[in-house]
Amino acid sequence: MRFRLSGDQAALRAGVRELLARRFDGEALRAAVDVSGLDRELWRELGAAGFFALRVPEADGGVGLGLPEAVLVFEEAGRVLLPGPLVATHLAAGAVDGAAEGEVVVAGVDRGGLVEWLDEADVVRGDAAGAVALRSVDPLTPLHRVPGALPRAVDPVAVLLTAAEQLGTATRAGELAVQHARTREQFGQPIGAFQAVKHLCAQMLVRAETARAAVYAAAVTADPVDIAAARLLADEAAERGARDCLQVHGGMGFTWECEVQLLLKRAWVRARRGGGGAESEELLAVDLLA
């Protein structure tokens, strides 16, 4: 059994991390808060790097990789809070012209009735008629709400890729908290020397690493029950991780300029995708009777 990253997978992850560090660092993230709209140039670069065409077969001009690789890439996107309808466009690659290349931006109507990035989308999948703009809690995710009936069933792959993004955000939250706890001094020592702070950081790691095992395993099996489990663990790791990160940052964590608020708000948006976690819990309950 080799349930760990292969050499190629580690290289892929390193490559994506390097690309994103170069093209979407912390400064770019904060700058993005103050401009509306998507960076289309970056979108095309993502397309050229194979972000959207990753799972499209090579015969059809794609990269020909699988779900585990897609999960690693989306985890990196989640780490840096890369904006845009990434999951919807990735899922549209091969079905919507230009999606694979990053030439068009594709939005999708989610089961919960939400549409992310509707105004920016060149193509909308699902019926977005009558969509009403919300004042989105996340400054980097414009939201619309479609009134009335719920759209079609959720694509488990969309749930899994969202879980991968949550995992990246949970990991990032832990790293930021540890970095702050090492450098911020009170009472004459780094606050990370206090057990109360240490234990917050340790729990963030425990949640993220447990979620990682669940998310990676679901990527290998592609089993809907595994995906439901991964989603619950990843949502928890991201939401509670971002909160704990905020707590470790103290007053600074409550400010607009601090990156932590963006982690938490994005985690909240993603946790609502697919109608929230209740359906996953029900699926996992029924699985126990099998």
Binding site: M1, R2, R4, F194, H199, A202, V206, Y216, D226, D287
Partner: protein
């Protein structure tokens, strides 16, 4: 990244499964938990059965994945748990194998494997729990013996053990980690008194061990004098590898039983309970994947359990308590009846966030050794 087993591993699993199917129906009935001599005979008998079939050494020599398969299959088949063999097979034995002299290995290892001798652990003391290195049980040299005086606590199987892996203080003036020595003490030695401790579950799973001028031959020392802390760490890291594989398999089985019971007694219709069952299922599925991840890491690093052990223990000990809290919700008022299933397990689960390193100590370990946060003053 995959979850597939090699053809050799699958063959091992198939062979083991087949053997278990033939041997388990021939076992005697399980003894009463109160009958210590019967428990000893039963547990050692199972170890002897494993030995005769060539499975005795799986904890020591097999690859981490093979060990995972062994623990998964034996638990799934309802085979006996390691029981009285625990300390010998998973603590003292591996320590002697790693740090003992050839003569010590020849003396102590074969009886452990053959199911002939039981070991217990004399580490914790009334005033040395989480701060184990503060232990005060004293040993002074007298000719070819150490003379040991002090007391130990939380010692499982002390009533029926032949040997005790004992940590003693030999260097009272040295810094606390550098004055400790590891001894193999015969439990039959004069001056050893065992007093059972009743747990909150009502059973006598542990004992206190009082030592009054007990003579232990110097030849029973494993490692150098005052090097016992390092010798002990070899044991403790061994414990964190695949230690809970069987338990996770068992917890997942219990979870299925809970769901079926809830269906029968009508509690299933409560969406709050149902969703809590679903979430607990997610939790244990994830813990199983984390086990597979940790085993793969250990495999890649040549069998050394990684830092994943502390992460796993923190999450698992909490999840186990949650599992039996959910069981209480399924049972309703019957959860107050000790005759009902899972009620004693719920009580026992309370020890999981304390034993083998409290959750608070585990979080310190994770924060300092994995995350690199500074030690507190």
């Amino acid at each position: 990244m995959d979850l597939a087993y090699t053809p050799e591993e699958e063959e091992f699993r198939a062979r083991l499964r087949e053997w278990l199917a033939t041997v388990l129906p021939t076992l005697p009935p399980k003894p009463s938990p109160q009958d210590w001599p019967a428990r000893r005979a039963y547990d050692l008998g199972w170890q002897r059965t494993l030995y005769d079939a060539g499975y005795a050494q799986v904890h020591w020599d097999a690859s981490p994945t093979t060990r995972l398969i062994f623990l998964e299959e034996t638990e799934a088949a309802g085979a006996p748990y390691v029981g009285a063999g625990f300390v010998g097979l998973l603590h003292a034995g591996p320590t002697i194998a790693a740090e003992g002299t050839p003569a010590q290995r020849d003396r102590w290892l074969p009886p452990i494997l053959r199911g002939e001798e039981v070991w217990c652990q004399g580490f914790s003391e009334p005033d040395a729990g989480s701060d184990l290195a503060a232990l005060r049980t004293r040993a002074r040299r007298d000719g070819d013996d150490y003379v040991v005086t002090g007391s130990k606590i939380w010692t499982s199987h002390a009533e029926i053990a032949d040997w005790c892996e004992l940590l003693v203080r030999t260097g009272p003036a040295a810094p606390k980690h550098r004055g400790i020595t590891w001894l193999a003490m015969p439990m039959s030695a004069p001056g050893v008194v065992v007093r059972p401790l009743r747990t909150l579950a009502g059973s006598a799973e542990f004992a206190e061990v009082f030592l009054d001028e007990v003579r232990v031959p110097v030849a029973n020392r494993v490692g150098e004098e005052n090097d016992g802390w390092r010798v002990t760490m070899v044991t403790l890291s061994f414990e964190r590898g695949t230690a809970f594989v069987g338990e996770v398999v068992a917890c997942r089985r219990v979870l299925g039983e809970l769901a079926r019971t809830a269906r029968e007694n009508g509690r299933w219709d409560d969406p709050v309970l149902r969703r809590r069952l679903g979430r607990t299922n997610a939790e244990f599925r994830a813990l199983w994947r984390l086990t597979q991840w940790n085993v793969s890491e250990a495999e890649a690093s040549g069998g050394v359990p990684g830092v994943g052990g502390s992460v796993f223990k923190l999450r698992y000990s909490h999840a186990r308590q949650e599992l039996y809290d959910v069981a209480a919700e399924v049972l309703g008022v019957e959860s107050l009846d000790l005759e009902q299933p899972w009620v004693l397990d719920r009580l026992s689960s309370l020890s999981y966030t304390i034993a083998a390193g409290t959750s608070q100590i585990q979080r310190n370990i994770v924060a300092e050794r994995i995350l690199g946060l500074p030690k507190g003053r």
